[in-house]
C-alpha cells in the first residue's frame, strides 16, 4: 500500500513551485520507521518523488537522504526514487522542496533494529528472540506491531536464505529461499503473532548460517523497505546440529613414544591433507589414569577435523609435574610432526591454534602449564602462550592457589559432575573446589556442571566412584562432554562463535542437541572482563546492601540479604543461619576473590532487587542482553521446601516510568540443587549457578519502553512471577553486547 504524504503548503505561486508529491510505504498517518545500521540499501526506506523538478533536501533529526549508490543528497531531481536511512534514534523529518511554501515532508522515526527470529512463549512477552536454533527445530518469525506501526496490515513474503556477506548481497540481491517457496504473511495489527517459516538442517559441519528477509514489496529481491536479519556481514541466525554425534571425517590413530613421560596417542582426520593445517587439541589425564582412556574424546574431535593428542601425565608427584608433561608432550609432538604417524601430520598442524584439555590433576595441570607460559617460567621450542587458544578442565583439582593455577585471559571451559566422588567439589575440600579456577579466569569462560556425573565418567576405565542420586553413567556423561568440548574447540580454535551459544544461551534452554531430556546441566558463561560488558554489580566492590560495584544504588527488599565471599564458612552442608554462604565453593584460599549476594523470601512476600542504572548504562540501544548468574541455595529451608526449579521476572524501567517485564516461569531456569546427601543433614551440594541472558529486544515486544533512556533494572520475586518462596544467590549482573 502506497500512501502519499503531502504536508506542505499553500504555495505562494503554485504554478511556479509545485511541491513534490512524496510516496512511502508507510500506512496512513504513521511515521516511517527506519532501523539504524543501514548497509547499502538494506534497512533503508524508499521515498518516491512523483513529479518533475529539482527539490532541495532538508532533514531534521536522525535521518539522511541517499541515492541508490549511497551518496547523501542535498537536492533531488524528480521524478525519482531516493532512500532514507537513519543516522540515530528518535523522530525526524525529511523535507523536499524550495522553501517552506513549496515543500513536502515525511516524518520518520529511527528505531533500534529488532531481531526477527525467535521462539513463542507462554508468558509475557510471549516471545523470545534467539540467534541460534537446533537442527530440525521450527524457526519462527516474530513481527511486533509496536515496532513497526507503519507496516501494520501490509502483506509480505518471508525468505530464509543461505547467509550472504554484504558483498554477496551487493552482487546478487535475488531472494532464494532455502526451503523453496517463500512463506506469505501479513504484519500483525494487535500483537506479535509468531509465523512459522520452516525447519532447517545444520549440514555436515553441524552449523549452518542463514539470513532472514521480510520482502515487504514482494519483488523477490532484497531492497529498501524490506526487513533483514543478517545485515552487513552479520549472520541472521545459526542452525546447530548434534555436537555429540560423530563428525564427518574418518579418523586415523597411532600411539607414539618419545621417551620418558612422552607416551602419546594421536588421532587425526583421514582427509587431513585435504583440510590443510588444523588446530591441535591436547588431552592430559588425571592421577591413576592413562592416556589411552580418552578414545571417546580423541576420536570425536578428530572426526570433526582436529588433530588430537593424549599423553602420559606425571600426576603422582603433583600438579607441577603434570604441567611439565603437558608442556613437554605438546612440544615433542609439534617438533616431530614429520615422524609421528609416518609423517602424516607433517605441515598439517596449525601450531598457532592449540587447545588444552585436562582431567582432574591434569585439569589443573593444563591451567598451571598455561600460567607458567604466561609467566615466562617455561619456554617451549615450538609454541608459546599466545598459541594456546583455549583451556578446558574436567573436574580439576585446585591444589595450587589460583594465582599459580590461573587461566589468565585465555578462554576457559570447566566441565564437572555433581556426583564426583574424588574431586568432589564439596565444601570441606578446598582442593576439590574447581569453581575457584573458573572464578579466577578473566577471559571468556564457560562452565557446565552436570547432574549425576561422576569423576571417572569422563574416562573409559577408572573405577567408578560416583556418589549421589540419579547417576547418569559414562555413556551420558561422555555424550555431554563430547558436545560441550566440541563447542569449545569450534568456538575458540576455529572462531565459530555461534557454537558458544551452547554456553551463553541458557535462557533459551539451549542445552546441546544430543542430550537427553533427563540430562540436567547448570551452564554459566561470562564474557572477557573489561572488554565490552557493562557491569552493574559483580559484588566485588561497593560492599553492602545499598551500593553496587558500579557505584549505583541498590535496593533489595528480600529477607536476610548478605553480600560476602562465595565461600562456605563452616565446611559442612547442614543448613545454618550462621553460614549464609552454605554450599558455596568459589572462594577458599589466598587469591580467591569471588563474592556474591544471597537472600530469601517467604510465602506471601514479593520482594525485589533493583539497581538504579548508572549514567553509562541508561542507553542500551547498542547492547544486546541483560545477563546475570543465579542459583538456588543448597539446603536452605526455602529451597528444601520448594523442591523444584525456580523462576522470577526481570523488569526494565525507562525515564518516563514505562515498565517492561520478562517473566520466565515457563522456562524454570534456576535448577533445584543436586540432592547429594553428604557432609551433614539434608541433601544438596555445591551451589549451581546458571547464567541467564535475556535479549533486551524482548523487553520492547508490545511495549513502548525506551531503551535509550532506561533508569532501573529490577528483579521481581514472589508467587506472581513463579515462586511464592525461595532462596537465591546472585552474581554478575550485567548488560552485555
Amino acid at each position: 500500500m502506497l500512501v502519499a504524504f503531502l504536508l506542505a503548503c499553500a504555495p505562494k505561486k503554485a504554478q511556479d513551485c509545485p511541491p513534490p508529491d512524496l510516496e512511502t510505504a508507510a500506512v496512513d498517518g504513521a511515521p516511517l520507521t527506519l532501523e539504524t545500521g543501514a548497509e547499502g540499501l538494506a534497512r533503508t526506506r524508499a521515498l518516491a518523488i512523483n513529479g518533475a523538478g529539482i527539490f532541495a533536501v532538508k532533514t531534521t533529526g536522525p535521518v539522511e537522504v541517499v541515492d541508490a549508490g549511497g551518496t547523501v543528497l542535498q537536492s533531488a531531481t524528480g521524478p525519482a526514487e531516493v532512500y532514507l536511512r537513519a543516522t540515530g534514534l528518535g523522530a525526524g523529518r525529511v523535507t523536499l522542496g524550495a522553501g517552506e511554501a513549496c515543500a513536502a515532508s515525511v516524518d520518520i522515526v529511527g528505531v533500534v533494529p529488532s531481531p526477527l527470529v525467535g521462539r513463542p512463549r507462554t508468558l509475557a512477552p510471549f516471545w523470545m528472540s534467539t540467534p541460534s536454533v537446533w537442527a530440525g527445530e521450527t524457526v519462527w518469525l516474530g513481527l511486533d506491531p509496536t515496532r513497526w506501526p507503519d507496516r501494520v496490515g501490509q502483506p509480505f513474503d518471508v525468505y530464509v536464505v543461505a547467509h550472504r556477506t554484504a558483498a554477496e548481497w551487493a552482487d546478487d540481491a535475488t531472494l532464494v529461499g532455502v526451503g523453496g517457496t517463500p512463506v506469505a504473511g501479513t504484519f500483525p495489527e494487535a500483537e506479535l503473532a509468531p509465523l512459522e517459516v520452516g525447519a532447517f538442517d545444520a549440514g555436515s559441519e553441524a552449523r549452518a548460517q542463514f539470513d532472514v528477509v521480510v520482502d515487504a514489496d514482494r519483488d523477490g529481491r532484497l531492497g529498501p523497505d524490506d526487513l533483514l536479519q543478517g545485515v552487513g556481514d552479520d549472520v541472521g541466525f545459526t542452525v546447530l546440529g548434534d555436537l555429540s554425534a560423530r563428525g564427518p571425517h574418518g579418523v586415523e590413530t597411532v600411539d607414539a613414544d618419545g621417551g620418558r613421560w612422552l607416551g602419546q596417542r594421536v588421532w587425526w582426520p583421514t582427509d587431513l591433507a585435504a583440510l590443510g593445517p588444523r588446530p591441535l587439541v591436547v588431552i592430559s589425564h588425571g592421577n591413576g589414569h592413562q592416556f589411552i582412556w580418552y578414545d571417546y574424546l580423541g576420536e570425536h574431535l578428530a572426526s570433526w577435523g582436529y588433530v588430537v593428542m593424549a599423553h602420559e601425565n606425571n600426576t603422582n608427584p603433583g600438579v607441577e609435574t603434570a604441567s611439565t608433561t603437558t608442556l613437554r608432550n605438546t612440544d615433542w609432538l609439534l617438533g616431530n610432526l614429520d615422524v609421528v604417524g609416518d609423517g602424516a601430520l607433517g605441515g598439517l598442524v596449525d601450531t598457532g591454534r592449540i587447545g588444552w584439555i585436562g582431567h582432574s590433576r591434569g585439569g589443573e595441570g593444563v591451567v598451571r602449564a598455561l600460567d607458567r607460559l604466561m609467566d615466562g617460567d617455561d619456554t617451549p621450542d615450538t609454541f608459546g602462550a599466545d598459541d594456546i587458544r583455549f583451556v578446558a578442565s574436567i573436574a580439576p583439582t585446585v591444589f595450587n592457589t589460583v594465582d599459580d593455577s590461573n587461566p589468565h585471559d585465555v578462554p576457559y571451559f570447566l566441565l564437572a559432575g555433581t556426583a564426583d566422588g574424588d574431586v568432589t567439589g564439596g565444601v570441606d575440600c578446598p582442593a576439590c573446589q574447581f569453581f575457584r579456577i573458573w572464578e579466577a579466569a578473566t577471559g571468556p569462560k564457560a562452565a557446565a556442571y552436570v547432574h549425576g556425573a561422576s569423576h571417572n565418567d569422563f574416562n573409559c576405565c577408572a573405577e567408578q566412584e560416583g556418589r549421589g542420586p540419579d547417576l547418569i553413567g559414562r555413556e551420558r556423561a561422555q555424550a555431554i562432554a563430547r558436545a560441550y568440548l566440541l563447542a569449545a574447540a569450534r568456538g575458540w580454535l576455529d572462531g565459530d562463535d555461534a557454537l558458544l551459544d551452547v554456553f551463553r544461551n541458557e535462557y533459551a534452554g539451549f542445552t546441546p542437541l544430543g542430550l537427553d531430556d533427563a540430562d540436567r546441566v547448570a551452564a554459566t558463561w561470562r564474557n572477557a572482563e573489561g572488554v565490552s560488558d557493562v557491569v552493574l554489580d559483580d559484588f566485588q566492590s561497593g560492599y553492602g546492601p545499598v551500593m553496587s560495584s558500579s557505584g549505583a544504588l541498590v535496593t533489595c527488599t528480600a529477607d536476610a540479604v548478605v553480600e560476602d565471599r562465595l565461600d562456605d564458612s563452616d565446611a559442612v552442608m547442614t543448613w545454618s543461619d550462621a553460614d549464609p554462604m552454605n554450599g558455596m565453593t568459589r572462594a577458599a584460599g589466598a587469591g580467591d576473590l569471588a563474592r556474591g549476594l544471597v537472600f530469601a523470601w517467604s510465602a506471601g512476600a514479593s520482594p525485589t532487587w533493583s539497581i538504579a542504572l548508572p549514567d553509562e548504562a541508561t542507553d542500551t540501544t547498542a547492547l544486546g542482553a541483560v545477563s546475570f548468574s543465579v542459583a538456588q541455595r543448597s539446603r536452605h529451608p526455602e529451597t528444601v521446601a520448594r523442591g523444584a526449579d525456580l523462576a522470577f521476572a526481570v523488569t526494565l524501567v525507562d525515564a518516563d516510568g514505562t515498565e517492561a517485564t520478562v517473566a520466565f516461569a515457563d522456562q524454570a531456569l534456576v535448577p533445584t540443587p543436586y540432592l547429594r546427601a553428604e557432609l551433614g543433614d539434608g541433601a544438596g551440594w555445591a551451589t549451581e549457578f546458571v547464567t541467564v541472558r535475556i535479549p533486551l529486544a524482548d523487553f520492547t515486544v508490545g511495549s513502548t519502553l525506551d531503551r535509550a533512556r532506561l533508569t532501573t533494572l529490577r528483579l521481581d520475586f514472589g508467587a506472581a512471577v513463579g515462586a511464592p518462596a525461595g532462596a537465591l544467590a546472585l552474581d554478575n549482573v550485567e548488560l552485555v553486547p
Partner: protein, 162 residues
C-alpha cells in the same frame, strides 16, 4: 572410599596419620645409577645418584590412588618417590635417595600439599610431627650389595620386578 581414607583425605592441614598404615619394611635394595636423575617428588628436586629401593608393607586402604587430596607417603623428612605399588597386596616400592640407616620413619601425612610442592623445611616439620605423634621407626632389613642400574627407567623396572 574407605572410612579411613575418607577421614584422612579431607584434612585441610598436613597431619600425620595415626596409627601409621605402614606396617613394615619388607626389603631394602641399595642401588647406584649410571645416569643420575632429578626427583620430581620434592619441591627442591634433588639429584639422585644412589639410594635404596624400599619395599613397604602398607594397609591397602592407604594406597588407593586418587586425584583429590589423599595422604602422602613419607620416608623420613621427604615425600617418598613411589615407583611401584600393588594395592591388593599392600605393597609399595619407594626410592630413598642417599644413605639409609638401620631404622626408618615411614608414615602418611594428610593434607592439601602434593609431593612436588613440599619443601625440605616442610618435610622436616612433618617428620617432627610424626615423631611427636608417636610414629615408631621401622627396622630396615639387612641389604645385599648395591645394584648398579643404568637410569631411572631401569630402576623402575627393577622395582616392578620385585
Amino acid at each position: 572410599m574407605t572410612p579411613l581414607l575418607f577421614a584422612l583425605a579431607f584434612a585441610a592441614e598436613p597431619s600425620v596419620v595415626t596409627p601409621s598404615p605402614v606396617r613394615a619394611v619388607v626389603s631394602a635394595t641399595p642401588f647406584v645409577l649410571d645416569v643420575p636423575y632429578r626427583s620430581d617428588w620434592r619441591a627442591d628436586r634433588p639429584e639422585v645418584r644412589a639410594g635404596t629401593l624400599l619395599l613397604l608393607d602398607v594397609d591397602p586402604a592407604a594406597l588407593v590412588v586418587r586425584d583429590g587430596p589423599s595422604p602422602v607417603l613419607y620416608v623420613g623428612a621427604s615425600p617418598a618417590e613411589v615407583v611401584a605399588r600393588d594395592i591388593p597386596a599392600g605393597r609399595v616400592t619407594v626410592v630413598v635417595p642417599g644413605a639409609l640407616g638401620p631404622d626408618v620413619f615411614a608414615y602418611f601425612a594428610a593434607g592439601d600439599r602434593l609431593p612436588d610442592r613440599v619443601t625440605p623445611e616442610e618435610g622436616a616439620r612433618t617428620l617432627a610431627d610424626a615423631t611427636a605423634a608417636g610414629v615408631a621407626p621401622l627396622r630396615v632389613p639387612a641389604a645385599a650389595a648395591a645394584r648398579v642400574v643404568r637410569d631411572i627407567d631401569a630402576l623402575e623396572a627393577l622395582a616392578t620386578a620385585k
